[in-house]
Point group: C2
Chain length 243, copies 2
């Protein structure tokens, strides 16, 4: 079970050195990709056999995700996938509406022409994906677009907060990806943001982003029933062994 460490080459996806890291990353991506249903119990030992490792790295990863609010811990200690209530979702939107525009303002003076071109490309990808009615690609392009900006602002603390928010946001948006396709104010706002960034207008870019977040949050607050079973979660089967 130490192959991953003794054989650093290969394995395109989980290059993380320690088993802790690999277990964490696998669970994390499974989570944002909606592999688990809200309310699912993730027991240390079951996840461990699914991942093909011992209980120790899984315990670490589960607890880490709990600290990041990506999982909840029952009084008994068992980790469960959080069931986002409506107030919690509203809170999430309110925090995002403060932090992400801040990151946008901080990033504005640091965006190089190369990065601006990259943003342009992500916007094009979004539009194409939308024309093909491919909601997964739309979500992916949007995420790429915004995180190019968030990473450019070189604020590690802020970046981790935002990633933690997206970790919780992930499953909800994933579940609502078809509804979001019909909403689609994102394209407009991203165009606004990009134009403002090209002019170096931080305040304008931040404002457009804030509007995107509040509008998307408001849209989902009405078009989404909370505390409900999702479409077709895969469960632990989504966790292939660690190699």
């Amino acid at each position: 079970m130490l192959d991953a460490r003794t054989d650093p080459a290969e394995a395109g996806e989980p290059p993380g050195g320690t088993l802790d890291e690999q277990a964490y990353r696998r669970l994390r991506t499974a989570l944002v990709e909606g592999a688990f249903a809200p309310g699912d119990r993730l027991s240390i030992r079951r996840v461990a056999v699914a991942l093909g490792v011992s209980a120790m790295p899984v315990r670490t990863a589960l607890r880490r995700l709990a600290v990041e609010q990506a999982l909840d811990i029952l009084p008994s200690g068992t980790a469960i996938v959080p069931r986002l209530t409506q107030p919690a979702f509203a809170e999430l939107g309110a925090i995002r509406a403060e932090l992400e525009p801040l990151a946008m303002r901080m990033a504005t003076p640091k965006l190089t022409p190369a990065l601006l071109d990259a943003l342009d490309q992500r916007l094009a990808e979004h539009i194409q994906a939308r024309e093909r009615s491919d909601p997964e690609a739309v979500l992916k392009a949007d995420r790429s677009f915004l995180f190019i900006v968030y990473q450019a602002c070189e604020a590690p603390m802020l970046l981790q907060f935002i990633e933690s928010l997206w970790l919780r946001r992930g499953p909800v948006f994933w579940e609502a990806r078809w509804s979001l396709l019909s909403h689609g104010g994102v394209r407009h706002h991203h165009r606004e943001i990009l134009a403002a960034l090209r002019h170096g207008d931080a305040a304008e870019a931040a404002l457009a982003l804030r509007q995107e977040i509040t509008s998307a949050t408001a849209f989902l607050m009405t078009h989404l029933q909370f505390a409900n079973g999702p479409s077709t979660p895969m469960g632990l089967a989504a966790l292939a062994p660690v190699r």
Copy 2:
């Protein structure tokens, strides 16, 4: 070493059930109380013997604090007390200036008369402590004042973010407690906040808080040399065994 669990009574400070929790809390308070110097290495085993427990709970607690950004992890895996650089401190202030006013706005309609009276008392404590030139008491009263508000807004995600920020802020303010005594715009701002809260004016309260944060951050940015050894840290001796 299981006394704490088999003897639930007694032990006024660390009532936490599991050893994980106790280790976490002890390290956490030691951290915010400035027991460690920036750059100190906290090895799992050394902390374990200082705490009188095995390595397991300490490992958990250390990793948890690292996720909360209260500690850094070296490439080797050793935990060290972060050395706050000037840009990092500025970033910290910028995030606080967004999130804490948000919490203030959310809390305003939920503040009961009892809570407002409690705020009044904390303000009085601040003023008294200031007259005695007791910087520790001043810091404590300020923290109490603000966290009464932050807890009242019933936003668990937001509260955890703010606590994480204060965890990082703690050592710096502790080190600068004497300088802060001479600054002291806090009293004024807290009075403003309290008056606004009594009128239910959320925007005004949030604005006053934002000014307090930005002014304190600006003050410390000039009156503090960064990446420097502190006064008299206690080190591991501050960690009394777990009972």
